[in-house]
């Protein structure tokens, strides 16, 4: 039978109708549905047994207890250890991401700067170590330790002690004011002067306790004196707007009201300054009325213990003189005698080392200019921001090399010549040495949670190459723990919140076991006596203070705009943030990025800039492009900038914005660009 065209058409038509009754089209539809649901390019979630590992967070020195929820041994989240009552901060909650930071350095590498670009060339560990010059009589070394008190810190100090002319440098704050701790829990009145008291200045747990006490109306009063309406000013019971840069004047006026000039141990010049700084004389320069100053002083004396906290946000935004004034004011308010401020004890040194064989820490600013040939910047970040300028000035003009041990190509590491990366947080045993505002010193150990990247090198190995004595990282930590155990002082606090005296811990081995399972050793300090040497004013500091006060009284800065940095304290020192931090910065605007410059409507008008416009901010020789944000809540005549490493830089190693380098109150110009 011959096939006709009609037959073919019929067959096709019937087949089409029949196919609907077959599974084929429905299966295809289903497949399309499935395919649209999970593209092969969408990451798959990990699978495996789930475990909960107790540890501490070693991203910053505070060492909050955490429980890591691990899937197949890899942490998928960090949570506050339940029962510890110690919450985490956003940086801690994402600490397990840092091992996968986009700017992670894969292994030893040379760093080159071509214009704006930072290029790296990898090399073997042997080659990298060979590039380190030998340290001898002519060539001195400076080891920069941003987190003093760790096991490696002791080793650094021993090495420097054996090499005269070398320096063991720590951030200035760590050398001076951060040796004093504040008993916030007992204070009833706290005056925060340009301090992010409620915004990461101290641990989340201590901040939360302040909020808790306040919501229970237990009489705690928080006063904020801040040029800008910072987070703390927003949350405080009372905000006193002061003129930018007038912190010292405010403190001296309060010292005057406290009759501090009658104290016997005051130097004559200091006494003279305090005596003549009456509220009436400086109120205008501070931008307040004499009545307001007296009112603040009354509040401070009304219900003690009272505390005054200044700066300490790690951004070096308040200078050493202001710190000293705050110490003196606290003393005058009785904080030293009632224990509201205390001198924090030092963590005992590692076993096998003696304190007298270790070098004394030098504040970074005290290291002479052009004096070192080799700078080693330890990989752990602390609580203070260090600028590249503060390091580069110490370099010998001839052949000098800067070696960074940072695992991530950010901040200082992006300026170094050579990087020998340490392991990232939670890749090896990490250490926490305590929050710099606490009255107690702490020591805790975080366990390795991630598989370690092959290219990372323990800092002990780098130091061992220089000193000829190599020690394993874990052995160094065990020595430290043994040293602590041998001191027989302090307590250990387990993750569930219970405490045990160190004397009842059986041996260094048991202490190590406890610490590696999330316990923390703490030792409370004694009341800070008048003899905190580092906080004593010297003659030159007093002169500088007098000069600044008269400059302020003359009202020099009225015609320009003053720069007021505001800080989320932890990020001023921590340049390594989880990429997820875009949630707080770019994606919600909860934290302004450092390119945002906030000004009052009047200031914007005077400078001819509009909300959302890109403008040029110039301060001294520095200038930067900023995005203008007009805010009703700011006083005219200032520009509020966000200090700290820029989380915009997740993908670029470029150093932080100008705000960090600009001292508080510095005059600036803002123009349309």
């Amino acid at each position: 039978m011959p096939l006709t065209r009609r037959d073919i058409l019929r067959f096709a038509g019937a087949a089409t109708a029949g196919i609907v009754f077959s599974p084929l089209p429905w299966k295809m539809l289903d497949d399309v549905a499935i395919w649209t649901q999970t593209g092969p390019w969408i990451p798959k979630v990990p699978r495996g047994p789930i475990s909960h590992v107790p540890s501490i967070c070693s991203v910053c020195p505070a060492g909050c207890p955490v429980t890591a929820r691990c899937v197949a041994g890899v942490p998928s989240s960090l949570r506050a250890a339940s029962g510890s009552g110690q919450p985490l901060c956003p940086i801690g909650l994402t600490g397990h991401h840092l091992a996968y930071h986009p700017l992670r350095v894969a292994g030893p590498c040379l760093v080159e700067h071509r214009g704006e670009k930072v290029l790296t060339t990898s090399l073997s560990l042997d080659e990298a170590l060979r590039r380190l010059p030998s340290v001898d009589g002519d060539r001195s070394v400076m080891i920069v330790d941003q987190r003093p008190g760790r096991a490696i810190s002791d080793r650094y100090r021993a090495f420097v002690r054996q090499h005269p002319g070398s320096f063991y440098a720590v951030p200035d704050d760590d050398a001076s004011m951060r040796t004093v701790g504040y008993d916030l829990e007992r204070a009833h009145t706290i005056l925060a002067v340009s301090t992010p008291l409620l915004d990461g200045w101290t641990t989340p747990a201590r901040t939360a306790r302040l909020i808790e006490r306040r919501s229970k109306n237990d009489g705690l009063r928080i006063l904020a004196a801040d040029a800008a309406r910072s987070r703390t000013a927003t949350l405080a019971d009372r905000w006193m707007p002061i003129r930018p840069g007038s912190e010292a004047a405010l403190l001296v006026a309060l010292l005057h009201l406290a009759h501090a000039h009658r104290q016997p141990d005051m130097t004559p010049s200091m006494r003279a300054i305090i005596e003549r700084t009456t509220p009436e004389r400086v109120a205008a320069a501070i931008g307040v009325t004499p009545v307001q100053l007296r009112h603040v002083y009354e509040k401070l004396t009304e219900r003690g213990p009272s505390l005054v906290v200044v700066g300490g946000d790690g951004s070096n935004s308040v200078d050493a003189e202001t710190d000293r004034l705050a110490f003196q004011l606290n003393r005058a308010l009785g904080a030293a005698s009632n224990g509201a401020i205390r001198q924090r004890p030092a963590i005992p040194v590692s076993e096998g080392l003696r304190e007298r064989d270790l070098a004394v820490a030098t504040p970074l600013s005290s290291v002479p200019d052009a004096s070192v040939a080799l700078v080693i910047i330890d990989g752990d970040e602390g609580t203070c921001h260090l600028s590249w300028e503060s390091i580069v000035r110490t370099l010998h003009p001839g052949a000098s090399i800067v070696v960074s041990l940072s695992p991530v190509l950010t901040a200082l590491a992006s300026h170094a010549d050579l990087i020998i990366p340490s392991p990232a947080p939670f890749e090896s045993f990490g250490e926490a040495t305590g929050d710099g505002t606490d009255i107690a010193c702490r020591y805790g150990v975080s366990r390795p949670l991630h598989p370690r990247r092959p290219g990372s090198v323990d800092p002990e190995l780098v130091l061992g190459h220089l000193s000829g004595q190599v020690i394993e990282h874990e052995a160094a930590l065990r020595d430290k723990v043994a040293g602590i155990w041998a001191s027989r002082r302090g307590q250990i606090r387990t993750p569930d919140g219970s405490t045990t005296n160190l004397t009842s811990v059986e041996g260094a081995g048991s202490l190590w076991t406890a610490l590696s399972e999330g316990a923390v050793w703490t030792l409370e300090g004694a009341p800070a006596s008048a003899s905190v040497r580092a906080l004593e004013s010297d003659a030159s500091a007093t002169d500088r203070l007098a000069a600044r006060l008269s400059e302020l009284a003359a009202g020099g800065a009225t015609s320009t705009i003053a720069v007021v940095p505001t800080t989320w304290a932890p990020v001023t020192s921590c340049s390594r943030l989880s990429p997820l931090m875009t949630k707080l910065y770019q994606e919600s605007g909860l934290r302004p990025t450092s390119e945002v410059a906030a000004v009052a409507p009047a200031t914007a008008h005077a400078c001819g800039v509009e909300d959302g416009a890109v403008a040029e901010l110039r301060a001294g020789e520095q200038s930067s492009k900023v995005k203008v944000r007009v805010s009703d809540s700011l006083a005219p005549g200032m520009v509020q900038l966000s200090a700290g490493p820029d989380p915009v830089g997740f993908r670029s190693p470029e150093p932080p914005a100008v705000a960090n380098a600009l001292p508080r109150g510095r005059a600036a110009e803002l123009r349309k660009s």
Binding site: Q37, P43, P90, S578, P579, T582, F650
Partner: protein, 251 residues
């Protein structure tokens, strides 16, 4: 009786630290924002806004307001508009669930949501190399082109149910089901629980005299309430109230 999960957020305790936002992103596998992301294209199931009293310097006062899906109970705006049933209210929990696998990305639900609590995946999710190993195994990452929002950490509810089932219990232990934002809040500003349980803290607090809900006059019966002892903060609830408060303040 089925549960009615809800939250009460104490705005007098919120410091705007951002823990909730970040913990939520970690828990729910929300990817980091790609280059060029803004607060208008990002994904923050829990977003903290800063609200102020509208006065200029120095009378400004402000408060931080965490906003997430309010799990509207009546006329749930996003449910009725979705053309293909990708949004559903679970009658057992009262939780408004989003089914990203069924969503076609028309964004009608986003236009309909009065709280702007819905987010669109403008990009495919991307994590820096290796970071996908840290993802939460209980939550699938979503691909681009679909809407998503807070579901009171559905993965955690699931885990709590599995635990209860393993122990032979029909009901979950409330202590086992705590959303990530609640757990991470350092000041314990967020209280979560079953509003149908009159003894629960959340039910008590939601009846507190300091309690209010945002845009309650829209009639959508949100299950998230807020607390504040400050009158101006409570007046943020809607625009008619805000206007009355302003007029009162000015006399």
């Amino acid at each position: 009786m089925p549960a009615r999960y809800g939250m009460v957020i104490d705005l007098d305790r919120c410091t705007g630290c951002g823990n909730c936002t970040v913990a939520c992103a970690v828990e729910n596998n929300i990817p980091p924002g790609p280059p060029g992301v803004t607060d208008r294209t990002g994904i923050t199931w829990m977003r903290v806004y800063e609200a102020d009293n509208g006065e200029g310097f120095p009378e400004t006062q402000s408060a931080f307001v965490p906003v997430m899906c309010m799990q509207c109970e009546e006329h749930t705006p996003c449910v009725s508009v979705c053309p293909q049933n990708a949004v559903e209210v679970d009658p057992e929990t009262g939780i408004v669930g989003q089914i990203p696998e069924r969503c076609l990305g028309c964004r009608y639900c986003m236009a309909a949501c009065p709280y702007h609590a819905r987010y669109f995946n403008w990009w495919d999710p991307k994590w820096p190399e290796g970071m996908e190993k840290t993802l939460n195994p209980d939550v699938s990452p979503r691909m681009r082109g679909v809407a998503e929002k807070c579901n009171f950490c559905h993965g955690r509810l699931h885990t709590a149910r599995e635990k209860a089932a393993a122990a032979g219990n029909a009901a979950i232990d409330p202590a086992d089901y705590v959303p990530a934002c609640v757990e991470s809040c350092p000041t314990q500003a967020i209280v979560f629980g079953d509003l149908n349980d009159p003894a629960s803290e959340v039910a008590k607090l939601s009846r507190d005299e300091r309690a209010f809900r945002f845009l309650s006059r829209l009639g959508t019966e949100p299950k998230v309430s807020y607390l504040s002892s400050r009158a101006w903060v409570r007046s943020l609830a809607d625009r008619v109230l805000a206007r009355d408060q302003k007029e009162e303040a000015r006399g």
